[in-house]
């Protein structure tokens, strides 16, 4: 077997509509390896199977075919070593910001004093200081998303699975969050599997970018980004790569 941290082998996934009965093939023979400490981003059109892929890796969906290995062990159920930031946040409505963020540590029976510290740390990190006691219903869209990110990070997983985690953030907050994420990733050498619709973001963050084709999701092209961190968005190499990948998504890949 491979040396990869995460290896996704021959995954296919199809769904049958509850009412219509039509079968949707969300993924078809998908293969990918993510090395330890690698930052891989998936881009592709809406509905091509990105979320489905992350959920299969997280162990929340069962692949119709194929298997996922983490450190050479097959994974079939969710575990705290793979943290997922959900596309639609999925906060616990009965817990305030702090309560949502410390949910994971609470499960691991981290002592209360330490939990307070963790909460403070991540609340500051995502820029939500002053909102500790708000409940999900009292948060703006971007604030909810940041709570979801903080909740996943607070659990300190080995593999971070992030589904459009910055989609609801303004440019400034977003670039701040990108920097924080890169910092965390570099400090802890986590493996990151990241989904975004922003090619610029993908190029700014990733070691490799996987472009998916339209449904059913198969790999259209994989790009390795050899630019050194921190990257500059106005750098010539950056821009040309961005253009190339944008073209690949919509038409043909070079």
């Amino acid at each position: 077997m491979s040396q990869a941290k995460l290896s996704i082998e021959h995954i296919s996934k199809s769904f049958t509509e509850k009412k219509g009965g039509k079968v949707t093939h969300a993924l078809l023979d998908f293969n990918l390896e993510v090395a330890a400490g690698e930052f891989v981003t998936i881009v592709g059109p809406s509905g091509c199977g990105k979320t489905t892929l992350l959920k299969i890796v997280a162990g929340l969906e069962i692949a119709s075919e194929g298997a996922v290995y983490l450190d050479d062990h097959r994974v079939t159920v969710p575990g705290p070593e793979r943290g997922l930031v959900f596309q639609d946040f999925a906060l616990f409505p009965w817990r305030d910001v702090t309560g949502n963020i410390v949910f994971g540590p609470e499960l691991l029976k981290v002592p209360a004093v330490e939990r307070v510290k963790i909460a403070e740390h991540y609340i500051r990190l995502v820029g939500l200081s002053g909102n500790e006691r708000k409940y999900p219903a009292e948060l703006s869209g971007g604030m909810k998303q940041r709570v979801a990110i903080a909740r996943a990070l607070a659990n300190n997983p080995e593999v971070l699975l992030m589904d459009e985690p910055f989609g609801s953030l303004d440019a400034q907050t977003r670039s701040q969050m990108q920097k924080e994420l890169l910092y965390i990733w570099q400090e802890n050498r986590k493996a990151v599997l990241f989904v975004t619709h922003s090619v610029e973001e993908a190029v700014y963050l990733s070691n490799r970018i996987v472009v998916l084709s339209e449904s059913p999701g198969t790999i259209k092209q994989i790009y390795s980004i050899d630019l050194s961190y921190p990257r500059s968005r106005s750098d010539h190499g950056f821009i040309s790569l961005r253009e190339k990948i944008t073209g690949c998504i919509s038409e043909n890949c070079r």
């Binding site: 943290g83 009965w94 994971g104 219903a137």
Partner: protein, 246 residues
């Protein structure tokens, strides 16, 4: 107020004091019951209060057991397919059997007075609590369970940190239905060889055809039931403040 007036007029028109006493009759009966000596256990409390306290105690004990057992079993059924497959048929067979039909068995198993009464109250309160707990458990959004799983929650933790909090409103509604039905079963419950309690008191005055006192007892059941409901509601509002109001 309007309601009382309507009652008085309707009762006067019906002119059947035996079946339909007027509020004035009932109030004077209430007064008479307040000053009469209480039941053997609590003679100092007056007949009305003494019996109310005794019934209250029975209902609270029965309800507490029903709450604990209903929630636990409901959680188990909502959680484990196996528990559901095993227990649901038995429960659904037993559920519709009327409390009156249980009286002989209750007396056989539990003797007279307190314990069989508590058993019957439990019977009445248990099933609604159970069903609403299952309902709440089953309507927990998949998403929230998934989040908890990716954060490493064990089954038990998902249960207690996700499903149970989510099911809380539904469970609380079940408790409210349950305590109502528990009270409602009081008369049947106190037919199991009691000689005290509101249900007994009602039966007593029904037998001696003292209609005003019977209605006074019913009214007391209604009032205490209402107070318990209000207390539960208060508790619920405090517990579930996070619920968004529409």
């Amino acid at each position: 107020m309007l309601f009382l007036l309507a009652w008085e007029i309707a009762a006067l028109l019906a002119n059947l004091p035996q079946l339909f006493p007027t509020p004035v009759d009932v109030l004077s009966a209430l007064y008479a019951l307040l000053i009469a000596p209480g039941p053997a256990g609590l003679p100092w409390a007056g007949e009305l209060w003494g019996n109310t306290l005794i019934s209250l105690w029975r209902v609270l004990v029965g309800f507490a057991i029903a709450a604990v057992s209903g929630i636990l079993l409901g959680v188990a059924i909502g959680w484990w397919r196996n528990a559901r497959d095993l227990l649901e048929p038995i429960i659904e067979l037993l559920r519709p059997i009327p409390p009156l039909a249980w009286i002989p068995l209750a007396m056989l198993w539990f003797g007279l007075g307190f314990t069989p009464a508590v058993f019957l109250i439990w019977l009445g309160a248990f099933f609604p609590i159970l069903l609403n707990t299952v309902l709440g458990m089953e309507s927990t959004p998949k998403k929230l369970v998934e989040v908890a799983k990716t954060l490493g929650a064990s089954s038990g933790q998902i249960l207690f940190k996700v499903c149970v909090p989510f099911a809380a409103p539904s469970i609380m509604a079940g408790l409210r239905i349950g305590i109502g039905i528990g009270w409602m079963c009081l008369v049947a419950a106190e037919l199991t060889g009691s000689n005290s309690g509101l249900g007994y008191m009602i039966m007593y005055y029904y037998s001696t055809m003292e209609a005003a006192k019977t209605v006074a007892g019913m009214l007391m059941i209604g009032i205490v039931g209402f107070l318990m409901f209000t207390a539960l509601k208060k508790m619920e509002d405090n517990l579930l403040f996070w619920r968004v109001q529409s």
